[in-house]
Symmetry: C2
Subunit: 318 residues, 2 copies
């Protein structure tokens, strides 16, 4: 049985797994990146984690991994982690993370999640869509003609910092009125606390909004309006076949999707909106996309098309 | 000498020419589309115009045209003018416009202009840019990986209807705060008239703004601010290597470009803006792009790369 090692490296934690060519997934326990010890320590931590996953693969399948795929934050090419403000590294080659002799490929974290949603997730039936995970921050994977698109220099997808209220609230990034400052999960929690004095999670804000709390409803409604404004502009410029919302806020379900669809349609006068659907792969999208990168590194560009969502969701966890 | 027939069909008028494989351009006098007589009349007028240009080509070069390229408004595929609200036609095949037996290709008007700017105009050195002609309306050609991109169904590029002030002025399209309602040439003229009572052209508004007229400066400044807001969002989502501004308003030159560059940079806190440059091909971009479509129809995808801007600008006019 051939397999790849797949890793989704976030700012503070990382998630890894083994994924066979047939889509059998073994998810390992996540672990911290240790970024408080500096970028070199993160590289060492990633390398050690990849090594342990590869050891598990050798013992389970009796062969070397066919490839390694890594989803990493910041600016990234297939062979180099160019820069991450979050981690602090610069120009780290893929080989620094991986066992000698095993082919490796890197990808941008959000776009790698978008790749997985594209190949066998919520976007599997379309070529052109936006994958928008909404968590502590907001960034998107712009999937065009079947491929995640990062722009001229890999800085694309920053829809979280598109201004929806250009004379509105100041964002932590220094700009005015960014989508993220109204609609990220952390913004929803922060803005509720500012108005109510209560410290709660975004999930609780949604629950209170659904239960009729007027302050929670106002804050959550403003988040949805900000999303509708940003998505309307996206739709007008890029005419996607689909919008896929993921991340923690998507767990709000109908409380998010129903008003969002309605407000998006209300912001579009001369065209229909595309469907707006929840992501299929949840928080594992990045790791599963990294598995596709690992198979690409192994020379297999077709992996994933026949993977089943049920197998993935039922993947064993060691 | 081989040549193609190229036509840029707008709502009310059309421009045609003969373009040789070497980039020698003969521009013919434009003529009305006659849309007031209905869509069938427009098809007949286009067909007649194409026929006359082909006759000129036969008499000048002694051979049949190698192909015909047509830039048309609305929704369009390479072989069919699917729909235009402006003209009213539906599902007109390319053959309806062209002499029997001559291969033809259609393209979207703005994207065809963007194709020309991409192949031998202001975008010739980059693969990813926005071509934004600003005239009576605003629509863009989103050029990605060297090709104009129209989205899942060909409705893309409508950046003129992205909302820059979501609680702002109502646009003629029915939406609120569209870029076009602040920054098109007709919006600049209209908004100046509303505030001053004087009826002038956008060009005159710019001249008055430069001369120190406070109302003109305010209206033109608001147009530039609206452009900066829309372009900042575009840059964040798509990370273009370049922004190319064309159309009548680009003739304002430094009065437009200098404050626009400054305000765009001011709207971007954590990344540099791309260069913002004037278009190279002027109002002929659509016709020249149609010539490239004509060569593509003839099986020659490489035409244009060696065309010189000087030759194009000096093209003889019959």
């Amino acid at each position: 049985m051939t397999y790849v090692v797949a890793l989704d490296v976030g700012g503070t934690s990382m998630k890894g797994g083994l994924v066979t060519r047939g889509g059998e997934v073994t998810v390992l326990a996540g672990r911290p990146t240790g970024r408080e010890h500096g970028p070199d320590a993160v590289v060492q931590a990633v390398r050690a984690y990849v090594g342990e996953i590869a050891d598990l693969g050798r013992s389970r399948y009796g062969v070397e991994p066919a490839g390694v795929g890594l989803a990493v934050p910041g600016i990234v090419t297939a062979s180099t982690a160019v820069y991450s403000a979050n981690i602090g590294w610069r120009d780290v080659p893929a080989e620094a993370f991986t066992p000698p002799g095993v082919p490796a490929r890197l990808g941008h974290d959000v776009r790698t999640g978008g790749l997985a949603e594209s190949v066998f997730g919520a976007g599997r039936d379309v070529a052109d869509f936006l994958f928008l995970p909404i968590g502590t921050g907001i960034a998107g994977a712009v999937v065009l003609r079947g491929e995640p698109y990062g722009g001229a220099r890999g800085w694309g997808g920053e829809i979280g910092h598109a201004s929806v209220w250009p004379a509105g609230e100041k964002c932590a990034c220094g700009q005015i009125g960014c989508l993220e400052t109204y609609a990220s999960a952390s913004a929803v929690a922060r803005r509720f606390t500012e108005r109510s004095g209560s410290t709660v999670t975004a999930k609780e804000v949604v629950e209170r909004a659904v239960a009729g709390d007027p302050v929670a409803a106002e804050v959550f409604g403003e988040a949805i309006e900000a999303l509708a404004i940003a998505l309307a502009s996206y739709v007008l410029v890029l005419d996607p076949a689909l919008i896929v919302i993921g991340g923690g806020l998507a767990e709000a379900g109908a409380a998010l999707f129903e008003p969002l669809r309605e407000r998006l349609a209300g912001r579009l006068a001369f065209r229909e909106p595309p469907p707006v659907r929840p992501a299929a792969l949840g928080p594992r999208a990045g790791m599963l996309g990294a598995a596709l990168l690992g198979w690409q590194a192994a020379g297999d560009d077709d992996a994933g098309a026949d993977w089943s969502l049920d197998v993935l969701r039922g993947g064993s966890v060691s």
